[in-house]
Symmetry: C2
Subunit: 344 residues, 2 copies
């Protein structure tokens, strides 16, 4: 178990930004990327945190991420935004798409942005949360490398295809879902393999497609879809939906977030819906959520949570105690910073 | 095991329509409702088939379903349709909403309909399939009675909240997802209880919130969410999303599809997205689906399916062999027809 450091938000942001600007990424874009890495660590998802800076640096070095990308966007109808990220970092492209959606949705009631040629967005929750903070219901979808086997299949042919949704609740925190459609993350499989720990039953198969709890065997196999055939169907549906609207790759052709050199071929979709466009009145959402949180817990559970509760609590704790980063990751990030080319 | 009859499509439609028009439902609306009952039986979901005619008749008799409903709809923005079903049968209201969305989405690229005060829609797949047949991506959501316990909770506080999505695939059948977010349907729990059959582990809890495979105990308990905490979070999210946009009830306040007298307090949401609004090019969806269907099956599986494949095959078989209806259900429907009041 590697030691955990506690960094300040400023240190965390500064180190990422230093590396990214060193590769020629404009200051504002570098900061947006740094903020997404920060959110990964703040929420306890180290795989989406500073640990990813290494891959980003490699991809900037190889040109798979274009530092000086000039994303473009076009409203093809009053409610449809088509975005081409020009091979740039994901967060600046996605942040811009979100801003355009927010500016538009007050007028149209609903708006959709389809993004291609952007790199990894990081965690999806921060995007939908920022839209919910503006009073807008948000759905974010993205395709990802094929790591999950189809239900009844043996090989990885489906992405982990995460899904994030946020619904604002007047006067309260929003309800926020941010989940992948695999039983377990690739990061956890690799981590358990490195540490010799088993996986939970049903979480993965080996290279022959046989269910295994041996994480090392799962590294060469595939992750199982969450929730059996329904979860497979949902994950596949999201993949087909995103690819259809973004005109991007599917299955094994989705590349570019887990390797240093392949251009990103995934797609991202954002849907914004303005509740105020749906007439007068309001649903008793706050009272319902209160009843859920107050219901008796089952044996072995402390209490019932509403989606978003745990991430919000973890984030608050880490903001207070310092951003958790493993010593290995911090040392590696400092090494990367030392190796960064001279600023152009 | 009750004997299974094989009816013609015409017999099936005629019997439902006779009952519904007998209660004063206009011919066209009665036929739309009858078609949805037919689809339930054609797809092998008897709980959404002719078996439901009994409850519909009781609800028409009590006035909980208004035979002479006059649904209204308003475009509140260019892309948002707000529909009030006036307490009428669900399918005619939903069919009309779908038609309005299809007429609009070619212009706007995306459109959303929020429906309230409509009764049970029946299976959601036929609605999204009809939109996919017009080349439009469709998402259908509906809230339902609280039958599912929250993850970590003991009591039923969340609906089974079904989700249907269809994505058209040029030159091929669409990909069609139609799933509820419970591990098992209420109908199956009741059926297994009546027949003394066990439930699968993890599918339900008893009245104390303890996991049980005893279907009779589960009748007084709650259905478990599919896919553990992720499935709970997804189902809850759909509930909050639909209720927020339709201004309808949540949790235990959702009523009116399982009882003879309560007005329907659920909501329904339809989202239509026109892929042609998203610029030129196309994703290689057909090739991807072919690769999925051709991949090696895992031990114990015949082959890998794409969502919609099984329902399509079942429907085709039943169209050829006759619509399967249990003898009990058919006899009951004939009895209801005999008891129908004189036409007004």
């Amino acid at each position: 178990m590697t030691a955990l450091l506690r960094m300040s938000v400023e240190e965390h942001i500064a180190l990422s930004t230093l590396v990214l600007t060193g590769f020629g990424v404009p200051e504002a874009a570098a900061r947006e990327q740094a903020e997404l890495l920060l959110e990964g660590d703040l929420r306890g998802h180290a795989s989406h945190g500073l640990r990813r800076l290494d891959m980003l640096a490699q991809r900037l070095r190889s040109g798979a991420v274009r530092a000086a990308a000039r994303p473009t966007s076009t409203w093809t109808t009053a409610s449809v935004l088509v975005v081409d990220g020009d091979g740039g970092l994901g967060p600046p492209v996605a942040r811009r798409a979100v801003e355009e959606l927010l500016a538009k949705v007050a007028e149209t009631g609903v708006a959709v942005a389809a993004v291609r040629n952007a790199n990894h967005l990081g965690m999806l929750a921060p995007y939908v949360e920022s839209m919910a903070a503006a009073g807008v219901i948000a759905i974010a979808l993205t395709t990802s490398e094929a790591l999950v086997h189809p239900w009844g299949g043996t090989r990885a042919l489906v992405g982990t295809n995460p899904l994030a949704v946020a619904v604002p609740v007047p006067g309260e925190d929003p309800v926020v879902l941010d989940m992948a459609t695999g039983q377990v993350s690739r990061g956890k499989v690799l981590d358990h393999a490195a540490r010799g720990l088993p996986l939970a039953p049903g979480h993965a198969v080996d290279s022959a497609g046989v269910p295994t709890t041996d994480a090392a065997a799962a590294v060469d196999g595939a992750i199982s879809p969450f929730g059996g055939p329904k979860g497979y169907a949902l994950g596949l549906m999201l993949e087909v939906l995103v690819a259809t609207l973004t005109r991007t790759a599917l299955g094994e052709e989705v590349r570019g977030t887990l390797d240093p050199t392949d251009p990103s071929t995934k797609g991202d979709l954002f849907i914004a819906i303005d509740p105020t466009a749906f007439g007068s009145g309001a649903a008793p959402v706050a009272a319902y959520l209160a009843a859920l949180r107050a219901t008796s817990p089952a044996p072995g559970h402390d209490r019932v949570l509403v989606p978003g509760d745990r991430a919000r609590a973890t984030r608050a704790t880490n903001l207070a105690d310092g951003v958790p980063v493993s010593q290995v990751t911090w040392a590696r990030a400092q090494q990367i910073a030392a190796d960064v080319p001279e600023r152009p």
